[in-house]
Symmetry: C2
Subunit: 331 residues, 2 copies
């Protein structure tokens, strides 16, 4: 038995095909009686709309393309959860692409996923290459960039200030009494660089006139690397008494390395992470971290991208952050 089509349903309901189409897509536009008749016919025939045909005829889809730079970075789980939840209630599907922090890969994904044209695109950050930006500008679909407060957004931005987050963390660490605070960073994308800038400027503004103590690399940030970077930081700056980490994996690695070296946290070394991934609040000692609104960013990104009044809204939505102070920075 072949799959039922609109025409089959139409015959069953004794109406025209286009009416069935309307009854399903825009139920408000048909009479109640007819709607019910169509529903019955759909049930009876087991009709399932053919998306390919629908796309071809309307050159539209109800799916949102979401590009993230990593799936192993737990930061994006929460973002994706927010996106999924919002997408579900808006009745759109999502299409996830993993750019692996590679602009070229991002461009390829866009080329591939923008056909057929999605209802919207959600991207991470503003580090797209020129070709990608051109593609996005020419595509007739709304674009939301998330995480960063990107300066020259394609359309809209939903995120928070990484710079302010780092500043806030540093002020707290200074208040807690640390004097020779270092910075450890990896995977130095624009967000991590903003955090580094925040560290630098807050340090400078504090009047301590300290030399900057940093250990930074472009490798993929993970727990192991945190230990490695602490080692290199302490080699260059043995007097470090605290470390601000560009993310929580690094912070955990730093904590473990301290334990290996017999350094007491928070007494000998204070540690602050970034993102507040849940695991850091369970470590011993519990680690201070800048809590970022990842779930909300996801939700809000979907709402923004689907918003019909998208053109009349502020282009940048700052969802803020919260510093969660814990034992690791309270000597």
């Amino acid at each position: 038995m072949k799959k039922a089509t609109l025409v089959d349903v139409a015959k069953e309901a004794d109406v025209s095909a286009i009416t069935v189409s309307r009854a399903l897509r825009t139920p408000d536009m048909v009479s109640t009686a007819l709607r019910q008749r169509v529903e019955r016919a759909v049930a009876k025939t087991g009709y399932v709309p053919n998306k390919a045909a629908s796309m071809l005829a309307s050159s539209k889809t109800n799916s949102i393309v979401v590009l993230v730079p990593s799936l192993s970075n737990n930061v994006f789980d929460e973002v994706l959860r927010g996106i999924e939840e919002a997408a579900r209630s808006a009745n759109v599907t999502i299409q996830i692409g993993n750019t692996m922090y590679d602009p070229l890969r991002e461009q390829q994904l866009l080329t591939s996923l923008l056909n057929p044209l999605p209802a919207g695109v959600i991207l991470t950050g503003g580090e797209q290459n020129e070709a990608s930006k051109r593609i996005l500008q020419q595509a007739q679909t709304p674009v939301v960039q998330i995480m960063d407060l990107v300066k020259d957004p394609i359309h809209k931005v939903v995120g928070f200030s990484n710079y302010d987050g780092a500043v806030s963390a540093l002020h707290h660490m200074l208040d807690a009494g640390y004097k020779r605070i270092g910075f450890i960073g990896a995977q130095m994308d624009p967000r991590a660089q903003d955090r580094l800038r925040g560290y630098r400027n807050a340090l400078y503004d504090s009047g301590l006139q300290e030399p900057e103590r940093t250990s930074v690399t472009n490798e993929k940030a993970d727990v192991k690397l945190g230990g490695t970077l602490l080692t290199s930081l302490l080699t260059q700056h043995p007097d470090c008494d605290a470390v601000l980490c560009s993310n929580d994996d690094l912070a955990l690695g730093v904590l473990f390395e301290c334990q290996r070296r017999g350094l007491n946290v928070p007494r000998d070394v204070g540690i602050c992470g970034f993102n507040d991934l849940g695991i850091v609040s369970e470590a011993v000692p519990r680690v201070t971290s800048v809590c970022t609104p990842r779930f909300e960013i996801g939700q809000c990104a979907v709402e923004t991208v689907l918003d019909p009044h998208i053109n009349t809204r502020a282009p940048v939505l700052d969802l803020g952050f919260k510093l969660h102070v814990r034992e690791s920075t309270q000597p």
Copy 2:
């Protein structure tokens, strides 16, 4: 300017539309000269194939649907990495769905993602509900179930034995001298249950005739829960001298809880995790874990699902596991 279609390219190259189609899809079937002419015409017109039309005409897609139960569980990152890599080299796109451990959600995702029909489906485990299984059986597309060695596979299975993994871990712990080994489990899906079974049987077979010491829940497994479960385990069985955990997050939580309680690992309590997620090998002390071939499972699942000889291959592919012994179980 409208987008170029096959016909435009055909005019440009002075051939028929169908020939252009062939030149692009099956270049071996046309002459070299013509292929080059078509390529030039494509470049000149900026032609991009319309996937919706292609799908409609052929009722095929070159995308693979991948359903995982969680994106926050780091187990699936690696699997997805393997899938992505293999998919890329096979030139197919992937469509990721997150079932959130909910069979109904899985069913909804299948209903939605099986239209248009994908080139294959990759699912986690065998815990689909009856409706989902029926949908998959009727869909004319290969299905590969991963992670578990599912007993009654829909088509094919790529995974490893969770049961054997647990048995192997337990044997190691017994060999290391632990006598009163407990089990901590959460998110007790069939895989976790297999691990529990492995624990039970290995314990029984060891002849120790020990009572079983378990603390198990169906909540989402995370680091925090590890601590909670250890607390409950030690309340009921204060004599526990080691813990096998159904995954690494729990193991880490157990380690942290031990630290809070002043219990020395591995002397007072031995800890073994499951999956070997990278982070456990960095903790202090480094934690023993059953290393599972997640990347390979992903790769292999794609190869299997796309394999034209799929019907003549063994239905179950066991990729094995490796116990990585570290400090946490060497008193």
